[in-house]
Amino acid sequence: MPWILFLEQLLNGLQFGLMLFLLAAGLTLVFGIMDMINLAHGSLYMIGAYLMASFSQATGSFWAALPLALAATALVGAMLELTVLRRLYERDHLAQVLATFAIILIANEAVRLIWGSQPIMLNGPAALSGPVELPGGVHYASYRLMIIGVGAAVAVLLYFLVTRTRAGMLVRAGASNREMALAMGVDIKRLFTVVFAVGAALAALAGAMLGPILAVQVGMGENILILAFVVIVIGGIGSIRGAFVGALLVGLVDTMGRALLPMAFALVFRPQVASNLGPSVSSILIYVLMAAVLFLRPQGLFPARG
């Protein structure tokens, strides 16, 4: 395999991983701090992408639409927390799963009522529509490079927020020991609403960034939500650092597996067998990774609770 191809796959894995991180960050915070399984996180991702599509059609500009979509989705997230999810914190996980699964169905049908059944259009900025030539002769989609930049910037920002600010301290306290944080007088209700809104905005950012390279359609959240759950299980529930490492691992293993495994099999097996085996094995690779991590470290790579 020529090294150019390898480098390109590396960038692809990085880009996919960073987007998974945006989704997983919100999910892991909600799961870790509120001890709440929120299956509807994928719906916020979908709503973010749809709002982004509408705003960018209305304003005619990708960049003007982005803050609007993030703010609107954060608002939707906060409303969801205030009206429904707040009532679920005391319930067991089964009730939470059932209720948030219901929210998925409601969100899907609501989006269909508003925007219609068919996928809608969301294109990136025209300046980034083609490829650029990187040093070394790699042609790479400029939009994907931009995604890598945005993802990395958000990761740094989040890291700074969580480790260096007072709000971040409360979040970490809530994640590692909720009862103790409560006892120390943290306004947990407000903290939960804020964390949920931030998680929703991050999901919307992922939706808005991925919209131009993926289909913006009803149900788009469910596909990617499964990957986000794999990420937080690998990384350790409640840990931003774990979500970051887990997301990059999943992104790289998934992309590299799809690129390298068929080639590796082609060297060993007959073409017929290799072409059947390649896609089957590469599609389960991240689950194998998850099983391996759980076997060696049942709490994930960076458990938030000591």
Partner: protein, 389 residues
């Protein structure tokens, strides 16, 4: 005396097979969930034809009972039983996806119920398992792919790269393409069903640098793939060819400009030059404020076929022999948007397939323009395996 006449008339009526006074059609389709777009398009086409016919097909006031299979074969089976047993429909139509079709087909066939396909026409039902109760108003499952293979050959593409999802219809599609294609196959790649990111595959395609790339990636997968393919800049060097049902208006509305210049194959095009098509396209645009896709054409044509067949059978839908005959000759008696077509003995269309290019029309809208005919009077490959006369 009057009473006697009534009695005689009643007796005479009871002796011949009763003609229905109303027509009740069971429309089982995927109308909710992520994949609902296609079912809705077929329904809109079907309802448009019914509306233009004044609410009656074949001269009988028509009621359509809608049922939503949610793309779940089990749900489809239960709803089929309900449509047949409780709603007592006279015939059925509507199914979008082959997995639902194959699951519900045994119930329909055992009930001796006629089914007019507005989309899915699986090789199992058109080949060895053919049945007098099955009629397709769309196209045999492999036909678009086969036409694409012929097109790639005629265009002089020396080598082709093939990509499809790793599930039965994906493998069938590439089999269909290879039947029509005479050049060299560089690689045949199967990807995960519902895959989101195609960057790994795209990098390999760039390295292989084929003349043409044939992609069968239905629904959201195709949208993901086309967006990413164009963003990678490869569309300048490698010609993308796809089957027409993954690149019609429903996808155009989601992808837009990046689709310009792509080739696809189809049994129909919105600009086909015939009177019935102009009427259909104009009426659909007026009703729904959007350009119809081929799915809408299939729903519309299914309704036209039912209309012609019920009329020819004088409403005797239950009379198997008469209604079968009426169905088989229906396309000859009605003008449909796709132009003239005939029916093979397995109930599938013998029709032309066209190649279309994604281009702008004079109003600046992106449309699938017909640029040529690939296959004339094409017969389903699997018809030869159908033992039925």
């Amino acid at each position: 005396m009057n009473r006697l006449i009534v009695l005689i008339a009643a007796a005479a009526f009871a002796c011949s097979a009763p003609a229905a006074e109303r027509l009740k059609i069971g429309f089982l389709s995927t109308l909710s969930g992520p994949a609902a777009g296609l079912g809705v398009e077929i329904r809109d086409g079907f309802e448009l034809a019914l509306k233009l016919a004044g609410g009656s097909l074949g001269g009988l006031p028509t009621e359509v009972v809608f049922a939503d299979d949610q793309l779940n074969p089990e749900v489809g089976k239960q709803l089929t039983e309900r449509l047949i047993r409780r709603d007592r429909v006279n015939l059925m139509t509507g199914i979008v996806f082959s997995n639902v079709m194959l699951a519900v087909w045994p119930s329909i066939e055992q009930s001796k119920m006629f089914y007019v396909a507005p989309n899915s026409t699986p090789t199992n039902i058109s080949g060895k398992g053919c049945s007098p109760y099955f009629f397709s108003a769309s196209w045999p499952n492999e036909a678009h792919h086969e036409a694409a293979g012929h097109f790639a050959t005629s265009k002089g593409y020396k080598n082709a790269y093939l990509i499809a999802p790793n599930y039965p219809a994906g493998k069938d599609s590439l089999t269909g393409f290879k039947r029509g294609y005479k050049g060299k196959i560089v690689a045949e790649v199967y990807t995960k069903l519902n895959q989101l990111d195609y960057s790994a595959e795209l990098a390999q395609i760039r390295a292989a640098n084929p003349d043409t790339l044939y992609a069968f990636l239905p629904g959201g997968m195709g949208i993901n793939f086309i967006k990413q393919f164009v963003a990678s800049g490869m569309s300048r060097d490698i010609q993308l060819v796809v089957p027409g049902f993954v690149s019609d208006q429903d996808v155009v509305r989601a992808v837009g400009e990046p689709m310009l210049g792509l080739f696809d194959t189809s049994h129909w095009a919105y600009d086909l030059d015939n009177e019935a098509n102009r009427k259909f396209v104009a009426a659909f645009e007026k009703e729904h404020k959007r350009i119809p896709s081929l799915f809408a054409e299939q729903g519309y044509t299914a309704a036209l076929v039912i209309d012609a067949a019920v009329r020819a059978a004088k409403g005797k839908v239950e009379d198997v022999k008469a209604f079968r005959q009426a169905l088989m000759s229906a396309p000859a008696r009605v003008k449909t948007p796709r132009g003239d077509w005939k029916v093979a003995h397995n109930g599938t269309p013998i029709q032309d397939y066209y190649v279309r290019v994604l281009a702008k029309d004079n109003q600046g809208r992106i449309v699938n323009k017909k640029i040529g005919t690939v296959l004339n009077d094409h017969v389903d490959f699997w018809a030869k395996e159908c033992a039925m006369k």
